[in-house]
């Protein structure tokens, strides 16, 4: 234990004083996040634009039967959205619940046209079924609310220009009220777009955190042995009366601690961003809805699956990085090599965002749950869908992969080969000396 403590203190001290590694550690996730975020924004913008020329079917309960409700339906048809009219709110709910192909439904309440004619604020209710917490599914869900928002905005402008201005009307105008329908409950929100935006963020959040954590840990543990070589301390260390296992453990522990500190910083930043920014943008009200939507999604089984998977992922990445550290000679190549681990992982995680397990068969979902590291991105959604088999398989498979990796790594470490191998590599100059003769 003493060795572990000494190594740990020394590691932390050097790391804090040597900004080189820490800076690289911060830059990599920033770059990754920026790329991912940029791609996300581009994708969401694209689907928002598509929403304006979209095809699809929506259910409409026109309680108003006025000229302005007809205007709304005409506008929808003009853009290419077919409308099915239903005769009650119950029928509307049932229709959109049972028909996955529908974009959602709207209710135009009594008095809608009258309100508009007398330049009073008016509301349209937009119902959306949240079937999956997945970027693709969520952006599809955002189409109808976006469309109705646009139509409402145009209508407001038209009324303002035709009828002259009522101050209240300009402020409130024709508003759409979003209602998100989860499995067994409905969440009323003023701003469906903000809510869906937040859910998209949540679906990115977990994989992003995993990515950042693995990039921290991979870098730190891959560099920590390279540091000893660069500082020309490895030989001295190996001759000291200390346990080699504790030496490695101390280094790993230091990596994990710093990795988690980084994770908390980043996680806090994101959590703040995801909750504060959307709710601030929509006047505070939807912040509450986002939280209640989240509590709907994240239950105990999701949380425990998540924690177990995270442990598996951390161990997996650690052992992988240590295996790779065998082949590195200095800090810079260690950082490059950890990039080789993290970059494909980042790409895989990004692609996985666009896979919607909700629309898949059970066997494909099981296959998804067995993909190491990437599968952790599906946990929230599997919990949401209620696929408890996959929810269990994800942490189990991650822990198994980690065990396998650790076994391989420990086989190499315990033979002391890990040290001598590297020592040989570093001493390339001896070969030159030998040839001289």
């Amino acid at each position: 234990m003493k060795t572990l403590k000494l190594i740990l203190i020394k590691e932390l001290r050097s790391m804090i004083r040597d900004p080189k590694i820490l800076i690289a550690m911060i830059i990599v996730p920033v770059v990754l996040t920026a790329i991912m975020y940029g791609a996300m924004i581009g994708f969401i913008g694209q689907t928002a634009r598509e929403a304006l020329t979209m095809k699809g079917v929506a259910a409409v309960y026109d309680e108003d039967h006025g000229n302005w409700s007809k205007y709304i339906i005409d506008e929808m048809n003009k853009i290419g959205v077919e409308t099915i009219s239903v005769n009650s709110e119950e029928e509307l709910l049932e229709t959109i619940r049972n028909n996955r192909a529908l974009l959602g439904g709207i209710v135009i309440p009594k008095g809608f046209s009258e309100n508009i004619s007398s330049a009073k604020p008016a509301k349209i209710y937009v119902y959306t079924v949240v079937r999956s917490i997945n970027v693709l599914a969520l952006t599809r869900m955002s189409r109808l609310p976006t469309l109705i928002n646009n139509i409402g905005r145009n209508l407001t402008l038209r009324v303002v220009s035709e009828k002259g201005v009522s101050e209240e009307f300009v402020r409130k105008g024709v508003k759409s009220v979003g209602i998100a329908m989860f499995k067994d409950r409905m969440v009323y929100g003023t701003d469906m777009e903000a809510l869906i935006g937040s859910l998209v963020m949540v679906s990115i959040f977990v994989p992003l955190i995993v990515l950042i954590l693995s990039s921290f840990i991979a870098q730190l543990s891959a560099t920590s042995i390279a540091v000893e070589k660069e500082e020309k301390m490895l030989e001295t260390l190996l001759s000291l009366p200390l346990s080699r296992l504790q030496l490695i453990a101390g280094k790993i522990l230091a990596s994990v601690i710093i990795g988690f500190i980084g994770l908390i910083l980043y996680g806090g930043l994101f959590a703040w961003y995801f909750t504060a920014v959307p709710s601030a943008a929509s006047g505070g009200e939807s912040g509450v809805n986002i939280l209640s939507a989240l509590s709907n999604v994240i239950g105990g089984s999701v949380l425990s699956s998540m924690i177990a998977s995270l442990v598996g992922v951390v161990l997996f990445v650690l052992s992988l990085a240590i295996l790779l550290a065998l082949f590195v000679e200095d800090v810079r190549s260690a950082q490059i090599i950890s990039g080789y681990v993290v970059l494909p992982l980042g790409i895989a995680i990004f692609l996985a965002l666009f896979v919607d397990p909700a629309s898949m068969s059970q066997s494909s979902r099981i296959a998804l749950s067995l993909i190491p590291l990437v599968n952790i991105g599906f946990i929230v959604n599997m919990g949401f869908i209620g696929d408890y088999l996959s929810l269990t398989l994800i942490p189990v498979s991650n822990l198994l992969y980690a065990g396998l990796m650790m076994y391989i790594a420990s086989r190499i470490i315990s033979t002391e080969r890990v040290f001598t191998m590297k020592l040989f590599r570093r001493r390339g100059r001896y070969r030159g000396l030998f040839r001289r003769r």
């Binding site: 500082e231 301390m233 030989e235 000396l433």
Partner: protein, 247 residues
Amino acid sequence: MSSGEVIRVIDLEKVYPRGVHALKGLNFTVKRGEIYGLIGPNGAGKTTTLRIIATVLQPTRGDAYVEGYSVSRDPDMVRRRIAYLPEDAGAYKYLTGIEFLEFIASFYTDDRERMHRMISEAIRISDLGDRIKDKIKTYSKGMLRRLLIAKTLMVHPPVALLDEPTSGLDVINATRIRRIIKKYAREYGTTILLSSHNMLEVEYLCDRVGIIHEGRIIAEGEPRKLMEEYNAENLEEVFAKIVGGEK
């Protein structure tokens, strides 16, 4: 093995991974309190020998013993009895000299008192004065080497392994270090195994030397006796005569 023999090297062979046969059956012993010098040209196998005794490398064949413990079978016991100064050692750049000394000392003792004594001794040996509180990053090559010699000797190991202890030091510093090494061997009965290129250094320091060439000891004995035996002015000449005569 007689109790006087602290280091015993028996038929030591080392073949490096790419087939370099660095040691081809090395034999020598070092007695308690003795200063033993390994001398020889570049690539002779000095560093390889010291690394094996320091438990950094493992022997391919043969074995080495420190106070009776085998480096291949009992490396932990060996490590507790040695302090090793590698040829091109460094130190943690971002620690201060004193933090570095504390780091090393804590592996040898838990006792605060003893640790304190070790460190004040190291400060004296290194002669770094107030600079000991600066980051090692700011040290010159000579200062670093002095710090490393100090960290090796401060723990009062039964056996000190010094690979070219004075390399990189100017004449004044080198002389000081030689005097300290000698003093340590006498005062604390530390057994010292060192390697060197500098024949004058060896003549001054060592009770006995082993001339190593192409992985074998080709001559061994007290410097003066060797010179007499080969009718030479100095060890350099001894070496030239042996290597030349063999051809």
